[in-house]
């Protein structure tokens, strides 16, 4: 049980930041994994909200899409998509929103629109989806993003959402938090070091003076996490 993947470390660390009773706007993939893990471990009352309109979903299996049937079946309430964005997100009722992106800059601004120029992109990405208003509508934005120079860039190709409410970026190497307006490495995961993070960052990464080491996933966390993943894989 002592071995674990970088993705597992990311999901575990993100889940730890969710407190019981928090209301979370959850996307698919690692965020959904992290939020469901929190619900299965230390935060059983964590409320999962999916942008498809499900409020308080309690899926047994990890969904592949944000609109899987189980999310509706296990929800406290299902509302229309316009209501979700107007009454619930814009209504200021969501504590935490998870975001991912193709690029992030040192202010926590995110790009999920294009790589290259907008009119003639080298890579056309899926686009903003819920991100622009999640970024300004929730109290705390958590970003989950693997560390790489092409992702941690000095200048975004396109600003899809603004970084004002980004409180933490969890990567596969460590944890960044805004310090005096700039994302700063405040912790590294076991086995990683700050130089790896510096090398994987496209700007000159600040490192906190009291750099911490993340606690590795506990056996209980890994067991709960893998139970979730297995179910998801079996779906």
């Amino acid at each position: 049980m002592s071995g674990y993947t970088p993705d597992e470390m990311m999901a575990v660390e993100a889940s730890r930041r969710l407190a019981d009773g928090m209301v979370c706007f959850v996307g698919i993939g690692l965020p959904s994994l992290a939020a469901n893990l929190a619900r299965r471990t230390h935060a059983p009352g964590c409320v999962l909200v999916y942008e498809s309109g499900t409020i308080g979903s309690k899926p047994e299996e990890l969904p592949l899409s944000i609109g899987d049937g189980e999310l509706a079946e296990t929800a406290d309430a299902v509302v229309s998509v316009p209501e979700m964005f107007a009454y619930w997100l814009q209504g200021g009722r969501i504590d935490v929103g998870f975001l991912a992106a193709a690029q992030i800059d040192r202010q926590g601004n995110l790009n999920s629109t294009v790589i290259g120029p907008y009119e003639k992109p080298r890579v056309r990405l899926p686009g903003g989806g819920g991100a622009p208003e999640i970024a300004i509508g929730v109290r705390d934005v958590f970003v989950l993003l693997r560390h790489a120079r092409r992702a941690f860039v000095s200048a975004l190709d396109f600003t899809t959402s603004v970084g004002d409410n980004v409180r933490v970026v969890v990567t596969d190497l460590g944890i960044l938090e805004p310090v005096a307006g700039e994302l700063t490495l405040v912790a590294v995961h076991p086995g990683a070091d700050p130089d790896q993070a510096r090398a994987a960052t496209g700007w000159e990464l600040r490192v906190s003076d009291d750099l911490r080491e993340t606690a590795p996933p506990t056996d209980a966390e890994l067991t709960a996490l893998r139970a979730l993943r297995t179910k998801g894989a079996a779906a």
């Binding site: 309109g53 899409s65 998509v81 964005f85 814009q90 992109p121 989806g129 208003e133």
Partner: protein, 282 residues
């Protein structure tokens, strides 16, 4: 409203150059209707949808679309849409104009359309590069002075959705994740609803949207018409299909071959499913 064949509904209600919305938020995506648009060779469509997924990848790859109005275009949980990318990045098979919004902006535009208001208001589109690239403006609150975003209402020529049931009068009921389907129908000048089943009487259900027959132009029977999406209470999402679409759609020839075999050379949703089963056996 009349219960008609999907072929006749598309023939009579959808024209080349129309603004068409086939809505569905992961659930109840109207694949059968989209395939009929492809079979009938509709061209120059402006396609609207919050979450264009594999169905719009197919429409775009087959050259039906001139423009896409959307907020998130991907294969959910899998990756990018390769036909969408190919159209935007390499103009294949045709150039594709994009009008891009956020989900919140699209939702507000749908509500405005259904309400016959010319614009919707939201606190959004702030600080990023999107406003410079799309149709969005600001309005000032006359009471507080706050500046808010305004999006133009969606008013498609044709709105197309899939539902679980209609009754013999053409009243429609859908339930589960209901997305923006009610708004898409009510915002459109004409509308087509495909259904899993026609029943004698609709039984009221939790979390249902009911569309009275007099706001729908055509109801068409299309069992399993949402595949590979799903119909809550009828069949599950075919997650494997979404995963399998990635390699199919990566390659132009393989894509065209797949579309020929499963859409162009099938006459309706029944034959489409038969062709998929054959492919599995073969």
């Amino acid at each position: 409203m009349a219960v008609v064949s999907l072929r006749d509904a598309v023939r009579e209600l959808v024209r080349d150059g129309d603004v068409v919305a086939l809505e569905g938020f992961t659930h109840l995506i109207p694949y059968a209707a989209g395939h009929e648009l492809i079979r009938q060779g509709r061209r120059d469509l402006t396609l609207i949808r919050m979450t264009p997924d594999v169905l719009y990848d197919q429409l775009i790859g087959m050259g039906c679309a001139r423009k896409l109005v959307f907020s998130w275009g991907g294969n959910p949980g899998v990756g990018p849409l390769h036909r969408l990318r190919d159209a935007v990045e390499h103009c294949w098979p045709l150039p594709l104009e994009l009008e891009e919004h956020s989900h919140a902006g699209m939702a507000a535009a749908w509500v405005a359309g259904a309400s016959r208001l010319p614009f919707g208001v939201l606190r959004g589109y702030r600080g990023g590069d999107l406003p410079a690239r799309t149709r969005v403006a600001t309005v000032t609150c006359p009471f507080t002075g706050e500046e808010l975003a305004a999006v133009p209402a969606h008013r498609p020529d044709v709105g197309i959705v899939h539902a679980q049931q209609a009754d013999r009068h053409g009243n429609v009921q859908l339930w589960g994740i209901v997305g923006v389907q009610k708004e898409a129908v009510l915002a459109s000048a004409r509308s087509i609803v495909t259904v899993e089943e026609i029943v004698d009487e609709l039984q009221p259900r939790p979390n249902a949207v009911v569309l009275p027959s007099w706001v729908v132009d055509a109801v068409c029977l299309a069992p399993r018409g949402a595949h590979p999406s799903y119909a809550h209470g009828y069949y599950d999402r075919d997650n494997e299909f979404y995963v399998a679409w990635d390699p199919i759609s990566r390659d132009r020839d393989r894509f065209l071959d797949w579309m020929r075999r499963h859409v162009l050379e099938t006459a309706d949703v029944g034959q489409y499913h038969a062709s998929l089963e054959e492919a599995v056996v073969a």
